[in-house]
Structures are given as structure tokens and as C-alpha cells.
Amino acid sequence: MAYSDKVIDHYENPRNVGSFDKADESVGTGMVGAPACGDVMKLQIRVNGQGIIEEARFKTYGCGSAIASSSLVTEWVKGKTLEEAAGIKNTQIAEELALPPVKIHCSILAEDAIKAAIADYRRKHGLGEAAGEKKVA
């Protein structure tokens, strides 16, 4: 399968690989996917007092497109408010990386990972779910 140059770039030079301390109050952790399906994404955000995402880290078990999708969203969420980050759509990710149809699920997983990380952060701070936001595990 031919990968786009952007997928290859993110795959070969993944941005923001790593982990934050899950127990840290300023950190939200989202883990989505399942090994049996061939991909698992862990996305973490560090949020400052103003509710802005300062940093993000990821680890992904999956194909090149899954790795690239998660690497890309760690760049995109940086500097965004939780609401703005929650508004990132899988179609934007798929478009940016020129994912072929069989790899669209990678972008969906990345969107789910952002939502899961935000939900985790909100739970920690007793903020609950924002209106209209899909709840994901």
C-alpha cells in the first residue's frame, strides 16, 4: 500500500511520543482501541489553569496510519482549549494525512482518543461532560 508523504513523515519522525504521569491532576489520559483489532492509542494531555492544553503525548500500537493520526493530533491539540480540541473531527485528520478509505478508522480512533483524554481530565476535575459532546470510553 502506498502511504502519503505526510503519513510517512509522522511515522518516521513521530511527534510527542511518551507518557505523562496518569495520576497527575493536570493530566487527562485517553486509551482507545483494542489489541484484537490491531490498534490501541493512548493520548495524554496536560492542561494548564486556564483550561488550555499545553502539551500532549501519545503511544500507539497500530499501523503506520494509526501512528501518524495520533502523532498529528498531539500537534493539533497543543494550545487549544478543551472545547476547541473536542471539536477536532476525524475527517480533518483523514484529509490532512490523505488516508485511503481502509484507513479512515485510524482517524476515527484518533478523534476518540482526544475525546477520551478530555473526558478523563474533566472527570478528575468534576467538570462532567460538556453539552453535545459524545461520551467515549
Binding site: M1, G38, T60, G62, V102
Partner: protein, 402 residues
């Protein structure tokens, strides 16, 4: 050393230069139709076709007359299974095959099911091998044919063809063996084996693509319903003008295989063992399939906590194939590894290395070093590896399946 390194010999092999050289005159100079009986052009082509037939027969120790040319192993398997099922359907409508067979067999069996036949798909053990008791128990009074592959294409294991042949012969049930991956890799003696039909491919044994053969036993005689009509070539089993140059190539490839197989296998076994020792130096590596009853050319391993497609992408300096069929867009892990009882994760993380005539020690050493680096890099990226290192049992985690 040239990159990328080719370690996918079970997908296809390069045409041996000696084979290519032998083929060329049959494209330009001796271009006659082997079916032309009225002039020297035809005679010359026919002579070449018969010489090739004798060479194919010699590799597997049968009579040249028992060999019918086809376009490849897929066609041979289709002809054997559909041809026998259609001819013998008044005797019974039940066939037996194995879950780990090549799609050429499995899809043909599915088609026969659509035509009203019943097929039993046998399970294999964790080592990929058939348990003979299970084969024995699968026979029914209306069983007409059993089809088993000699060597598995994904994991390289060798099935007990003599024992299964014995079971079939005792019951008067036809036995078809897919030998696409076996020729030139293990000795085949059709005079001793109770095999009625055997499928061959040229391009897995350093011959050209687009040509294969089917062995059809004449004593006791096996009858088949032809699947391609038009001229009655090949004793009526397979019509169509013979592809002389392709056939010459297959004959020469099989002639070379017969002469060089023993020495070549030992050389390849040493290289495979070197590769195995190298990958076993990496943590959490699992070999798929039995190592004893196996061709020396194949090594199939799972790199736990690393996803197969990303690994293949990472090791772009080596041409291998993934047990994971993600690349074919189905997102399903290998059905062969699943049949071995491998977990989805391990099935997704597998790589098949297949070595061949032109593989060198230098290439193997480079491959091992390349794998070590890339597996380490991907594990650094893997949340599963992180959890494993933290001592979390992944089987206890509740995953959000998607």
C-alpha cells in the same frame, strides 16, 4: 549488498537466469505451436514441451504422461477439486480439507459448497500440523476426495502426506495434494505416495509465473471433468494452446531443483537458523508453527506488542510479508495463525521470512540488525509494551473494541 533484501520467496521467486536463458529461444526462434503436427516448427515446440514434462515428472518421480500443463497452481487446484467432484458426484458429495489451506483450495471448496457439495474443514494443532486421528474421524461413507497442502505457505509446516494418503487409499477416496510450496524444498516420490492428484506451480521454484501443472494418476486411473474446453489438448483435461516458453521454463526450473535441492536446502537451513538465533535475541518473540516438520526456507515469527503492518513499514529495507492481512484491506489477522490458536495480537504481529536460492549470510545479518532496531523503536511507541513492562496482564484489561 543491494537493498531492499528479498525475503519473500514463498510469494514468488525470481526466475533463475539459467531458466530465463533456456526460455528465450522459444519466444523468438522456436515459436511454433506444439499442436502443429504438419511442420518442423510444431515438432520442435512439441519436443521442448515433452522434455519439460519429463523434467517435471522426474522431480516428483512419476510418469511424464501423468503431468498436465495448466496456468499455475490455482488452476491446477480448481481442475483437481471441481473436476473430481463433478465426475464422482454420483459416488458421494463430501470433501475434506484443512482450515489452513491456501485460498485457492478454500475458495474452490466454497464454490463446490454452492454447487451442493459438503466440505469438512479440519482444525490443526497449535503447531500447525494435522492430527491424524482427526483426519481419520472426518471420513464419511460419501467422502469422495481429501485435499491437503504438502507445505503450508505461511508457516512452512510439512503435513504427513504418506499417512493421509494411506487412509484415503484404504477407503478408495481420492487424495489431492497442493505442492506449490513443496517442490524443490522437500523430496516428493509419487511412486511411493498414495496421492491421486498433485498441483504444482513454476514460479515458487525459480520458474516463470503463469505456468503450472497437475499430476493425474493413471494407475489406478483418476477421471476428471474438464473445466476448460476447446481443442482437447492435454488428453482432454485442459484445452488451450500450450505456452511453450513458459513450459520450457518450468521444466528447466524443476530440472535444476532436482539436481540442486539437497545442497541448497542445507545452505538455506543454516541461514534460517542464523536468522532464528538473531530474532530470538529479541524479547517476546514467538515462532509460529512446528520447527521440526518444516521446510528450511520458512521462518514465521510474532513480535509481541508490535503491530505487523507498522513493522513491515519500519523494516522497509527487507521485503517480507505480514501474517496480518491488513495490507489487503480486510483488517483481519491471518486465518492460518488464528487456526493455530494464536491470539489476535500475536496474529497481527507476525512476519513471514522466506529464504531462497539467492539469500546470503550478509543479508541475514543485516536483517537481524535492522529488526532489532525497528522492533525496539516501535515498542517505544507501543502502549501495550509499556503496560507489559509495568507488569499489567493485557488479558485482564477491558478494551473498548471498535
Amino acid at each position: 549488498m543491494k537493498l531492499p533484501i528479498y525475503l519473500d520467496y514463498s510469494a514468488t521467486t525470481p526466475v533463475d537466469p539459467r531458466v530465463a536463458e533456456k526460455m528465450i529461444p522459444y519466444l523468438t526462434e522456436h515459436f511454433g505451436n506444439p499442436a502443429s503436427r504438419s511442420h518442423a516448427f510444431g515438432w520442435k515446440a512439441e519436443e521442448a514441451v515433452e522434455e519439460a514434462r519429463a523434467n517435471v515428472a522426474a522431480l516428483v518421480n512419476c510418469e511424464a504422461k501423468d503431468i498436465v500443463w495448466t496456468s499455475g497452481a490455482t488452476e491446477s487446484i480448481n481442475l483437481a477439486l471441481k473436476g473430481a467432484a463433478e465426475f464422482y458426484k454420483t459416488r458421494g458429495r463430501h470433501l475434506i480439507t484443512v482450515k489452513t489451506e491456501h485460498k485457492a483450495t478454500l475458495d474452490t471448496c466454497r464454490e463446490l459448497e454452492r454447487r451442493g457439495f459438503e466440505v469438512t474443514y479440519l482444525e490443526v494443532g497449535a503447531d500447525g500440523l494435522l492430527e491424524l486421528d482427526r483426519v481419520e474421524a472426518a471420513f464419511r461413507p460419501d467422502t469422495i476426495l481429501v485435499s491437503v497442502m504438502f507445505v503450508n505457505n505461511e508457516i512452512g509446516v510439512i503435513q504427513d502426506i504418506p499417512a493421509i494418503g494411506e487412509m484415503c487409499r484404504r477407503r478408495g477416496v481420492l487424495f489431492h495434494v497442493d505442492s506449490a510450496q513443496a517442490t524443490g524444498k522437500c523430496p516428493i516420490d509419487l511412486k511411493r505416495l498414495n496421492v491421486d492428484l498433485m498441483s504444482f506451480s513454476a514460479h515458487k521454484t525459480y520458474g516463470p509465473k503463469g505456468v503450472g501443472a497437475l499430476y493425474i494418476r493413471r494407475k489406478p486411473r483418476v477421471r476428471l471433468e474438464a473445466q476448460i474446453h476447446g481443442g482437447g489438448h492435454e488428453r482432454g483435461f485442459r484445452s488451450g494452446t500450450l505456452a511453450t516458453h513458459q513450459i520450457v521454463g518450468m521444466g528447466e526450473a524443476y530440472r535444476i531443483a532436482r539436481l540442486e535441492m539437497a545442497a541448497e536446502n542445507e545452505r538455506i537451513r543454516a541461514l534460517r537458523d542464523r536468522l532464528l538465533a538473531g530474532v530470538q535475541g529479541i524479547e517476546e518473540v514467538y515462532v509460529n508453527g512446528d520447527m521440526a516438520s518444516r521446510v528450511p526456507h520458512n521462518l514465521n515469527v510474532s513480535f509481541n506488542y508490535v503491530e505487523g503492518e507498522s513493522l513491515i513499514m519500519a523494516v522497509k529495507d527487507i521485503a517480507v510479508s505480514s501474517g496480518s492481512a491488513c495490507t489487503s484491506a480486510s483488517l483481519e489477522p491471518s486465518y492460518v495463525l488464528r487456526a493455530l490458536g494464536r491470539s489476535d495480537e500475536l496474529a497481527h504481529s507476525s512476519i513471514r521470512f522466506t529464504l531462497g536460492r539467492f539469500t546470503t549470510g550478509e543479508e541475514i545479518d543485516y536483517t537481524v540488525g535492522h529488526l532489532r532496531t525497528k522492533v525496539a523503536k516501535l515498542r517505544e511507541l507501543s502502549p501495550l509494551w509499556e503496560m507489559h513492562k509495568e507488569g499489567i496482564d493485557l488479558n485482564t484489561v477491558q478494551w473498548a473494541a471498535h
